[in-house]
Symmetry: C2
Subunit: 214 residues, 2 copies
DNA sequence: GTCTATATACTGATAGAC
DNA sequence: GTCTATCAGTATATAGAC
């Protein structure tokens, strides 16, 4: 029990740092965020941070992992539901978008990490850590692929290249991390209405342009 | 005449620096790009850069402006065409996406600038410069709004909130700056096929989900 | 017009007091 | 477990030689 309590305190302290770090990475990006910035936001000094995380890369990696953990938790309950593709896709997409909105700072960190990896902006020491994070994120992306293919087989989705379509779909579903800001007094229903518009737009893209070619 | 030649040489020298800077900003982002990085890419030292641009902010601003100039040039010829919304929208969207692909480094810089502005990651001295750039970019965004509204009136587009839809549309149309990479031996037709898929996805989003609700 | 210094400030990270 | 002090490295920007 004593161990449990101690571990909980440790986890709380780490969680505080992770939240502050996520907020800083969101506001300034990776390179422009200094450990002093994160410490200042906590009302502490960097000694506290380096006690829990042994480098800036390590701190960022934990923020990234936390963001992905949240996504998995939200979406996975729907992945293995039986039945037609469309309602399953809708549930997954809605859960994903809501997560983008509700945990925006962490999701922005995930985005920053993916972008850094794509452009090869990682140092040799960061490489190993990043490769694992990116693999984690790729696994998550694959959760949607089976449903996309099933939907195409069923004739409800209409797209050409799966890879490009997957990119376009995620770009749309992720986009609230850039432009969404909570309005004063916003209710859960308000937020879901915004998320619904995002999901509808993404779904329209998957369904194709159909008869209306002009 | 002597003046013309001298100005041309000056412009060439500036253009070389702008191209190198755009490439660096694309690869490393704004904060992580040093003036030394840009100079090294040119096979020069930073003295050369500071002779033409009086700060890093100024250099970045010029790259941003160049990217937006290219977009205007590509899209504006179609903006005032008479007739139904859909074919005009298609021409504009296609021109925009092709520009994203063909001038990717500059377009990434534009993205970086918008992102920095949105999250308020600009210093007080940068503020004025950035406000002008963002205003320039907002004007460009408005080029599409009239066509979107006309399309909704004509019943070919189906969306709720114009602001959100505009965000989603641009996110889709811009997305090649993140995932597109030219393949060896790629022809103009190949590139246009990729761009076409992006345009189709964006159009599907604008047209809505229609009868297939499930 | 471009280069080689150099001033000044800030960064990630460590060591040791409390 | 958190703080203070400090080191070594790197950044922007400037001054002056060529």
């Amino acid at each position: 029990m004593a161990n449990g309590v101690r571990d909980q305190v440790l986890e709380d302290s780490r969680a505080d740092i992770l939240r502050a770090a996520a907020a800083c990475f969101m506001e300034r990006g990776y390179a422009a965020t200094s450990i002093d910035d994160v410490a200042r936001r906590l009302g502490a000094t960097k000694g506290r941070i380096y006690h829990h995380f042994h480098s800036k890369t390590d701190l960022f990696a934990e923020v990234f992992r936390m963001g992905m953990d949240l996504n998995y938790e939200a979406v996975e309950p729907f992945v293995h539901r039986e039945g037609p593709a469309l309602p399953r896709w809708r549930s997954m997409a809605m859960a994903h978008v809501m997560q983008m909105i509700l945990t925006k700072p962490f999701q922005r960190a995930v985005w920053i990490g993916v972008e850094m990896h794509l452009r090869g902006a990682t140092t040799p020491e960061q490489r190993d850590v990043f490769n694992k994070l990116i693999a984690y994120r790729s696994d998550y992306g694959r959760l949607f692929r089976a449903t996309l293919l099933q939907g195409r087989d069923e004739g409800v989705f209409d797209f050409d290249d799966l890879s490009i379509t997957n990119q376009l779909m995620f770009m749309t579903l992720n986009s609230p991390i850039f432009w969404y800001t909570e309005r004063p007094g916003e209710t859960r229903a308000d937020t879901e209405a915004v998320a619904g518009q995002v999901v509808d737009y993404a779904l329209g893209g998957l369904m194709g342009t159909r008869e209306a070619e002009g």
